[in-house]
Symmetry: D2
Subunit: 135 residues, 4 copies
């Protein structure tokens, strides 16, 4: 399993008049975590795009357990729990200290520049093979 961590500090712009973070911004933080995860495992997203791949979001499922607030330091834990094939699923847990704020997942597909679903690039396959050795 691949698991990485990233932190974001809550921006004033991300709050709403309820005094908490507006719910759509968590999706942006999930992406920040996902981008750092790809970077850490050696497949920076800018390189993927330079090779002609896109990785759009197909599905999101998010449960909000507790609100984030301005200036909180949020820890984003990203996991790829299942070996990816043409689809990639990432699971997320967001924490403020010991307090769990959110559990979430996103599903993605690799697309060609022509918006056709394609096999992941070999560099990605190689990294995945390293993490998910066949038994």
């Amino acid at each position: 399993m691949i698991e990485t961590e990233t932190n974001v500090r809550v921006r004033y712009a991300e709050t709403d008049q309820m005094g908490i973070v507006y719910h759509s911004h968590y999706l942006v933080w999930m992406e920040v975590g996902r981008i750092r995860m790809l970077e850490e495992i050696g497949i920076p997203y800018p390189d993927l795009e330079a090779m002609g791949y896109m990785l759009p979001v197909l599905e999101i499922g998010s449960k909000y357990h507790a609100p984030a607030r301005f200036d909180d330091d949020i820890r984003i834990v990203c996991r790829i729990e299942e070996r990816p094939s043409v689809r990639l699923r990432v699971d997320y847990t967001l924490w403020n200290g010991e307090r769990k704020l959110m559990t979430s997942f996103s599903k993605h597909a690799f697309l060609s520049p022509e918006n056709k679903p394609v096999k992941p690039p070999q560099a990605f396959e190689d990294v995945i093979a390293k993490y998910y050795e066949r038994g």
Copy 2:
């Protein structure tokens, strides 16, 4: 069942470098649809807040079927399919003409100013009773 419709025109700010709408903005559009729905059925959200109620998002589930693009005219169909109790679930379908872009839901709870779950306000109960007559 309650069903209402709203339209939004895609803003340039909502696109990303893939040339399509960044996925988190759909949640904002869902909220635009939800706010108009509450207004149409006679319970404007600003009135709810003035009465001391908040209606934060507890859960989101979204499937992205086709991308929205700059300047598209998006039709947001909102439905309350189940009679709400302390929880409210809203279902959404987003269309660009005849093309379905997204199916989604959000779940909400009524909260007091002290962030405690509370029964919906009587005005809301009355509207709901009108739409969901007991058989």
Copy 3:
């Protein structure tokens, strides 16, 4: 002089924990007004991009006179006061009813796909000539 009007309804997502609209969103509204203005005078921005032109923002100057709030209906008045050449300046006044919320301007340049400054497309020149007849 060219002058057009557009309206936007304030979204919940646009508020912050001060209970007013976060200041960067006014720039998005200015863009909404600018895009509608180009559409109204017969040069839709998507057409400009399809012809290979971009119109990025070079400069912004904004004075915030009074805050916008959730659900307010904001009127955006856009004006092209000076005849554009290679540069385009747009002036904005934002109103909530009779209350002036903001006065602002943006300056733009026409760029080629290679990011080089270029003369505006002929279609734009023709429209401008119609509005700014030489005396």
Copy 4:
């Protein structure tokens, strides 16, 4: 003079279909820099709000020199060049390595919870006095 630095990494969500950062996000980064500056000089913004002060934006002036792109590491230099009184002006320069992306300023006023302009809190005056000794 007070001068501090902060870094932000460009998020995918901040790009637009021109392939560069959408211009309104720079205002959010300016705020990130401003918040860190207040923290560094010993007047964290959350403390200001807890004491009942707000510091809304009254005016923005921004020149965009070169575009920021996805994943760039942006350095935000903030300066308080003039001794603040009831108004506070902050100047910003944004850099990507040696490339200057933007020069900008923001003007602010201290407001009371009743939205009345007020003198800055004593803690702020004390810090300012330390930096701007009377000659």
